[in-house]
């Protein structure tokens, strides 16, 4: 499983304009809704529910909001680079500008956890993050994500 198994080229937003964490989640939910055909309200609620347990900002300007959506048929990922960094209540206090959304179907169990781990570990790589920040369009971002982990640097 690579990251590009999770995120399609059209699920990449190169410069999302949002002002707050809530707005970012709403916007991502709307985009995810358009691509999966699921209700955007339901997606937003699921994401919010997870944020209530603790922020999904993992540090170094990266956030990985995620949740389970019962009616989904497979794992769904969406990547957004924010136009302007926003406060995501991160532990390290860094404003966030790279956001990876992951939605999992009800029974995804182990796959869900593995996908999350894979995403978290990829985006933690400072070289990958630097390349993603430097990429201006969806195509460039997709090719960074598509690189196998070992050669991503």
């Amino acid at each position: 499983m690579t990251i590009t198994d999770l995120v399609a080229p059209e699920a990449i937003i190169p410069a999302l304009k949002v002002n707050s964490k809530k707005q970012a989640l709403q916007e991502l939910a709307a985009r995810a809704s358009a691509l999966t055909g699921q209700n955007d309200r339901a997606i937003f609620e699921v994401l919010l529910q997870r944020e209530k347990l603790g922020t999904t900002a993992v540090g170094y300007g990266v956030a990985i909001p995620h949740g389970k959506l019962p009616k989904l048929d497979k794992l769904f990922g969406l990547f957004a680079r924010l136009d302007r960094p926003i406060d995501f209540e991160a532990m390290d206090g860094q404003p966030v500008d790279l956001v990876f959304l992951l939605l999992a179907p009800e029974g995804a169990g182990a796959d869900h956890l593995k996908a999350l781990a894979r995403i978290a570990r990829l985006l933690r790589d400072q070289d990958v993050a630097k390349k993603l920040r430097a990429s201006r369009d969806a195509q460039a971002i997709y090719s960074v994500l598509a690189l196998p982990p070992a050669t991503a640097a």
Binding site: S20, L53, V58, D87, M91, G93, G109, A110, L113, A120
Partner: protein, 598 residues
């Protein structure tokens, strides 16, 4: 006129004594001696055998003052108790407070019978008088000396000491009644106990709610909120006592209710009660010191010491180990709870009841209680911090958060003013970050008050005041502490994701599809750490649950408040990135091991 003079002299002496008590707290704090003993000592010095030569044997006054002081201390203890902290320890503390007290009294009684030559009822009364731990002593000593206990242990001790006084009072009163009136059937006694407990709970809860309602509805003049709450506590106490309910239980519960609801002027109430209980303790101990008569004490000191030793080393430990058996405490925690069976003013207060009623041998109970309290405070009180560290129930000292100033804003309850000194390395200053729910309102620089716009840019050394909801004030702290020099912790060790320590295992299971024991689903992650780690949690401590690891990521107030989730590795982990030289080295090493056949 002579009688007027004697009143004036009493007022003068009383005030001087209390003032000496207050001033002595400076001294005692500096030398770290158990403060309470110090006050007892002051009373004794002023008393009949000391240089003061005051003759004081008014048991009636002692009882009245003791009741009021104890009611205030318990109320204050309740006020500072967070629901969140006690939820997890309610069951163990309740068992300790009831069955524990009974067991302690029963085990102490035979020793008292033979050592002091008493009959069984009298011996049991002696046991009952010294059976309960003292709320004042526990609240004070557990927080003194910068000691921080593992929350579950600390909370158990506090809730136990808050709730066992009512039971010990009840037990003592029942036995005193038995001794002065003769027979009573067991069924009757049990009924009476249930009535006291149920009515006490009812009056406490209803009274507490009424006080909250009154506080938030009635526009009292500035400064009267705190005295209002204080007297309300005493009204609740008096009402419960008259209704033959446990007044002590009622005030403690009322305190918990009031302390856990948003009320006007909450901060000023807490400060006022701090001072009031401090004074109450001083008055109580000074008075008890006055009341004791050292000549009489000499005769009973040896058997009394015997009772004290049995209580400390046999009765309390046996009762604690039996009572905590069904709950998940490790042996070190049980040892510590046994050792911190601090006795204090309650025992002496209870011992004054037989005197008040005029039972035979009444002074004997008093003397025994006095000796037990001195020995307990001296040995257990003094070694408490040492025991906590040796038994691994103390938490490592961490730097305290920034000093936060909280100001109520009359007229509404949703917002308060929160002030901080702006530190040079704070998140606020370095990144200019502030949560969206708070609003900078004014800045103080060089004693001048500026609006945030005028103060732009805010610099280190300024004071900033923000509007924020009271319940979130604590969350502002992180923006105003000096950030540690960024020693980026290995994220892999601390987990991929973070969640709050206050969420339950069930919450986690619902989102990540991991399997948890249904019996533990309602346990919070912080409690899970408390229960399953047998030492105080440190950052990086890990606990497996199903396929993921929980990692303690940050600690606050001794609890794990942020938990890292370390997700399972892929089956085919990406090969580590190697430089050409490292790769060569690895290859050589592999070759060498194959060759050498190791």
């Amino acid at each position: 006129m002579a009688s007027l003079d004697s009143v004036s002299i009493a007022i003068l002496l009383g005030a001087v004594l209390v003032m000496a008590g207050i001033l002595s707290s400076l001294l005692a704090l500096r030398f770290g001696a158990p403060l309470l003993l110090f006050f007892l000592f002051i009373g004794m010095v002023a008393g009949e055998a000391g240089p003061g030569g005051l003759r004081f044997d008014d048991v009636h006054t002692t009882y009245v003052v003791g009741s009021v002081a104890l009611a205030l201390i318990l109320f204050d203890g309740g006020l500072k108790t967070r629901f969140q902290a006690i939820r997890a320890v309610l069951a163990p503390s309740m068992v300790l407070a009831t069955i524990g007290v009974l067991l302690t009294a029963l085990i102490t009684a035979p020793v008292a019978k033979y050592a002091l030559d008493l009959n069984w009822t009298q011996a049991l009364l002696t046991g009952a008088v010294v059976a309960s731990t003292d709320a004042a002593a526990v609240f004070l000593l557990v927080h003194a000396q910068g000691l921080r206990l593992r929350p579950r242990v600390g909370a158990t001790l506090e809730v136990e000491s808050g709730t066992n006084d009512p039971f010990a009072v009840f037990l003592t009163l029942t036995l005193v009644k038995l001794l002065s009136l003769g027979d009573a059937s067991a069924g009757h006694v049990a009924m009476e106990f249930v009535q006291e407990a149920v009515l006490g709970t009812l009056i406490g809860v209803v009274g507490g709610r009424l006080v909250v309602l009154a506080m938030n509805r009635v526009a009292l003049p500035q400064g009267l909120h705190a005295p209002f709450v204080c007297t309300a506590a005493l009204v609740i106490f008096g009402l419960a006592q008259i209704a033959h309910a446990s007044g002590f239980l009622a005030v403690y519960l009322a305190g918990i209710i009031i302390g856990n609801r948003p009320t006007r002027a909450h901060n000023s109430v807490v400060t006022f009660l701090d001072a009031a209980t401090w004074l109450a303790q001083i008055v109580m101990f000074v008075m008890l010191g006055l009341l004791v008569s050292p000549e009489r004490l000499v005769g009973s000191i040896i058997p009394a010491v015997g009772v004290a030793l049995v209580l400390m080393f046999v009765a309390r430990p046996v009762a604690v180990f039996l009572c905590l058996q069904p709950f998940r405490f490790n042996w070190r925690e049980k040892m510590f709870v046994s050792w911190v069976g601090l006795r204090g003013a309650v025992a002496i207060f209870l011992a004054s009841i037989p005197m008040l009623v005029g039972l035979p041998k009444a002074s004997l109970y008093f003397d025994v209680a006095f000796v037990v309290v001195i020995i307990s405070l001296l040995f257990q009180g003094w070694t408490l911090a040492f025991a906590a560290r040796k038994l691994h129930v103390a938490l490592p000292r961490t730097d305290r958060g920034p000093r936060r100033i909280e100001l109520d804003l009359p007229g509404q309850l949703e917002q308060q003013l929160v002030g901080y000194a702006v530190r040079p390395k704070s998140l606020y200053l370095k990144r200019n970050l502030i949560p969206s729910w708070s609003k900078p309102t004014l800045v103080i620089r060089d004693e001048r008050i500026l609006t945030p716009a005028e103060a732009e840019p805010v610099t280190a050394g300024d004071y900033i005041y923000l509007l924020a909801p009271p319940e979130k004030a604590e969350a502002l702290d992180r923006f105003f502490v000096d950030m540690p020099p960024s020693t980026a912790p290995d994220p892999h060790l601390l987990g991929d994701f973070m969640v709050s320590g206050e969420i339950t295992l069930g919450d986690l299971a619902a989102i990540y599809g991991i399997a948890v024991d249904p019996a533990q689903a309602s346990l919070t992650l912080a409690d899970y750490f408390d229960i399953h780690l047998d030492h105080a949690p440190t950052v990086g401590a890990a606990l497996p649950i199903d396929s993921i690891d929980l990692v303690a990521r940050s600690l606050g107030g001794g609890r794990v408040n942020v938990v890292g989730l370390r997700l399972p590795e892929d089956e085919d982990p990406a090969p580590p990135k190697l430089t050409r030289r490292q790769a060569l080295k690895a290859k050589l090493k592999r070759g060498w091991t194959t060759l050498s056949g190791a």
